[in-house]
């Protein structure tokens, strides 16, 4: 394999690098201070358990929760599966309803978890979004029935970064006695989240979207009023019976540290990233005045940009941009070349959806990198356009 690539990484919604501070804190837990956090009868196990306790507090503090409400998982996919299938299965088993409300632009794992429940006899309503990517709380309210168990609406979209009106959704769900789950994989650590103020009952977090490693995540599960789940994985009864399996101590410690860093730097970093985004946008507009932006700009995580260039083939653009890592859709589906269902949900046609790219800025992205990448993207778009106009002339 070739040595480490020298390229500009602008795909921070797919995954973020591990912050060196996070790496430093987690490493000793692999070897020097290892232990099974469930072996509380000996010193090795207790020190691991203590480290898990600290991390649980740190993750809770990120979202205004208490430590006992945090369930560690292998990532946001598992958190979303557990929240949706766990809550709906529990309700169905106890005859407390069987209806789910979700949104057309949710991550695949949310939609597929809902679909899995539909296979088990649940009903589901999928609410659409406006051209700006935002869901109208009134449409969600109208979709809720007497049988509704759960409303699942993401905090921030993975492709277009738009931030959904969680506080309004929380208030209306609480008033109707329905659980609100939010997939906060793209929002946690990037924008303020408060499960109390927003009245969120279940909230999914992903480590690798916030500078911790891949393979760790968390699910916030409200205690009062209690959000009850049927576990997906049975066994040793860890995580208060919500999720069995030995906790990966170094990974848990990493998620804790990543939360601490995010809390202390969120505000300044948000401003910086928004500046980088404007810089990119301005530069691209100079060459390509017809560029369009997908999703609301004013309600968006600061590190996300999603733009389209009419007539351009985004897949070909990515191939041409070997030294700039961007994407055309979410990573989980980018192996397939179908147009993004998220962009289609905004009302884009196949051509415009297929002409759109996602540019994701992150903690270690510099102004210089943005300038170089912007030049390269603008040039690649220009090249493709002149090639196709030459072909058209012929």
């Amino acid at each position: 394999m070739s040595p480490a690539p020298t390229a500009i990484y602008l795909d921070h919604q797919a995954t973020t690098p591990v912050d060196p501070r996070v790496l430093d804190v987690m490493l000793p837990w692999f070897s020097e201070t290892f232990g099974n956090a469930h072996s509380e009868q000996h010193a090795w196990g207790r020190q691991a358990a203590d480290a898990v306790d600290v991390a649980r507090e740190q993750v809770a503090a990120l979202i205004g929760a208490t430590a006992r409400e945090i369930v560690f998982t292998s990532g946001a996919t598992e958190s979303n599966n557990l929240a949706i299938k766990g809550a709906v299965r529990f309700a169905m088993r106890h005859g407390r309803g069987n209806h789910i409300v979700t949104v057309s632009t949710e991550h695949k794992c949310v939609l597929e978890s809902c679909a899995a429940m539909a296979d088990e006899g649940a009903e589901m309503t999928i609410v659409g979004v406006g051209p700006d990517g935002l869901v109208d709380p009134e449409l969600v309210a109208a979709a809720i029935t007497d049988h509704t168990v759960l409303v699942s609406v993401m905090a921030a979209n993975n492709e277009i970064g738009v931030i959904q009106p969680l506080a309004e959704l929380g208030a209306l769900c609480r008033a109707r006695g329905v659980l609100l789950h939010t997939d906060a994989a793209q929002a946690a650590g990037k924008v303020p989240l408060d499960v109390e103020a927003m009245q969120i009952d279940l909230l999914s977090i992903s480590g690798h979207k916030m500078y911790a490693p891949k393979g760790i995540g968390a699910l916030y599960t409200r205690r009062r009023p209690r959000a009850r789940l049927l576990a997906e994985m049975s066994g040793g009864g860890q995580e208060r019976g919500n999720r069995s399996g030995t906790l990966p101590v170094p990974m848990v410690v990493a998620l804790g540290e990543a939360s601490v860093v995010a809390v202390s730097e969120m505000s300044a970093e948000g401003t910086r990233l928004a500046g980088l985004r404007t810089r990119m946008l301005d530069r691209l507009r100079v060459d390509h005045g017809d560029m369009f932006v997908n999703g609301a700009m004013d309600r968006r995580v600061p590190g996300n940009l999603n733009v389209g260039f009419p007539g351009v083939d985004a897949e070909a653009l990515m191939t041409a941009l070997e030294s700039v890592a961007i994407s055309t859709g979410s990573a989980c589906t980018s192996a397939s070349v179908e147009p993004s269902y998220v962009l289609r949900a905004l009302g884009l046609d196949d051509a415009d959806a297929g002409a759109s790219i996602r540019i994701g800025f992150g903690r270690f992205t510099t102004e210089t990198e943005v300038d170089i990448a912007a030049d390269m993207i603008a040039a690649a778009v220009g090249t493709q356009r002149s090639d196709s106009s030459v072909r058209a002339a012929e």
């Binding site: 010193a43 978890s113 994985m233």
Partner: protein, 373 residues
């Protein structure tokens, strides 16, 4: 803290494994991304998949990486369309995967009673899946998987094998065993916690437990735990190279047991007549609870466990020992000593000295109480 003899609970990662983990932690791509960062990560995953495949003699395509043994066991059993049979000494994650599982008896050594397996299979109509572990986590007893296979095949049943405690400790071949599914865990064989695998025979397609993206050939959604998987691969490679060394732990373990028996005649070594893992000893001390033993050993800087780590928050009698016909008192007075890749004779000496003193004092304390009375 210097004598750690609880390797069946978790074992520290080897230095080479830590290197592989750190290397992967500094690669920052998503394996599903098509750009070069993504491709580099995919290459790391491919290499690790190959190493794990070699450890148990399967093709890389049959490996589904999971978050650990518990997830692998749950995925293997949870949605099977038919009867599920489990042995009474299985891990909690197997016993808990299906509320409707039929339990097959074991004998005094914790070995599956084949006659009862046959009887139970005969009572099942339709499809059946038998789940029997290769090695027990508490006693180290090995199950006669070949016999289990033979009986299962008589009834057309599938077989899942929880090889979490066996893989990396003894030679394990998926093909030779002929099983249909197998579960592995990285952190039991020198890899990191939070990663494992479900191995599935060609043509079999267990329902995914986690739904979402198309990772792991649509059999397990979720961005891959790249660092964990890289560490798993490195650990699998090193464990395979060191199987002979690991077999040598038998001598250390047997020496430990014979010294205990010489010094404390009423000690009980559970499953001693069974074929066992080289590293595991399940030691019963009549008249002293496991909790008390573990606590005293802990105070002396020796880490062992009372039963399996998953349930050790609550000290209930071991379901494994109960299934072996032990009464509650006996099931509550057994500790597990498990050696690992960094164990040596000094660890054994330290354990034996501490434990024997404690066991002998047990008698003195009881005498003292009697004389006071």
């Amino acid at each position: 803290m210097d004598t750690y003899l609880d390797h069946n609970a978790t074992t520290p990662v080897r230095p080479e494994v830590a290197d592989a983990v750190v290397c992967a932690l500094t690669q920052h791509g998503n394996a599903s991304s098509v750009h070069r960062f993504g491709r580099l990560v995919r290459h790391t995953l491919d290499e690790a998949r190959e190493s794990v495949a070699v450890l148990v003699g399967v093709s890389p395509a049959s490996i589904i990486f999971t978050s650990g043994g518990t997830e692998a066991n749950n995925q293997a059993l949870r949605d099977f369309d038919g009867h599920v049979l489990v042995s009474a000494v299985e891990h909690d994650s197997v016993l808990g995967a299906r509320e409707d599982a039929l339990v097959v008896d074991t004998d005094a050594d914790g070995v599956v009673v084949l006659g009862h397996l046959r009887e139970t299979l005969a009572s099942c109509e339709g499809a059946a899946l038998v789940s029997v572990m290769l090695a027990n986590n508490e006693t180290g007893a090995l199950q006669p998987l070949r016999d289990v296979m033979r009986v299962a095949h008589e009834y057309g049943a599938l077989v899942h094998c929880d090889a979490v405690q066996a893989a990396g400790k003894i030679n394990v071949s998926f093909a030779d065993l002929g099983v249909d599914m197998m579960s592995l865990s990285a952190h039991k064989l020198g890899g990191p916690q939070g990663v494992g695998a479900l191995i599935v025979r060609d043509g079999l397609d267990p329902e995914p437990l986690l739904r979402g993206g198309g990772q792991e050939r649509r059999r397990r959604a979720g961005t891959e735990n790249v660092a964990g998987i890289a560490g798993f691969g490195a650990a699998a490679r090193i464990a395979l190279e060191n199987l002979d060394w690991f077999a040598g732990l038998t001598k250390l373990r047997d020496d430990l047991e014979s010294r205990l028996r010489a010094a404390v005649p009423d000690v009980v070594i559970h499953a001693i007549d069974a074929e066992r893992l080289p590293n595991t000893s399940c030691i019963g001390l009549p008249g002293m609870t496991a909790e008390m033993q573990v606590m005293q050993l802990d105070l002396a800087g020796v880490a062992v466990s009372a039963g399996s780590a998953c349930s050790s928050g609550k000290v209930a009698p071991s379901h494994v020992l109960q299934a072996m016909g032990q009464d509650d008192a006996a099931a509550q007075s057994a500790i597990r000593v498990s050696l690992g890749w960094n164990s040596d004779a000094r660890d054994v000496d330290r354990f034996v000295d501490t434990w024997v003193t404690m066991a002998q004092r047990r008698g003195a304390n009881a005498d003292a109480r009697r004389s006071v009375a």
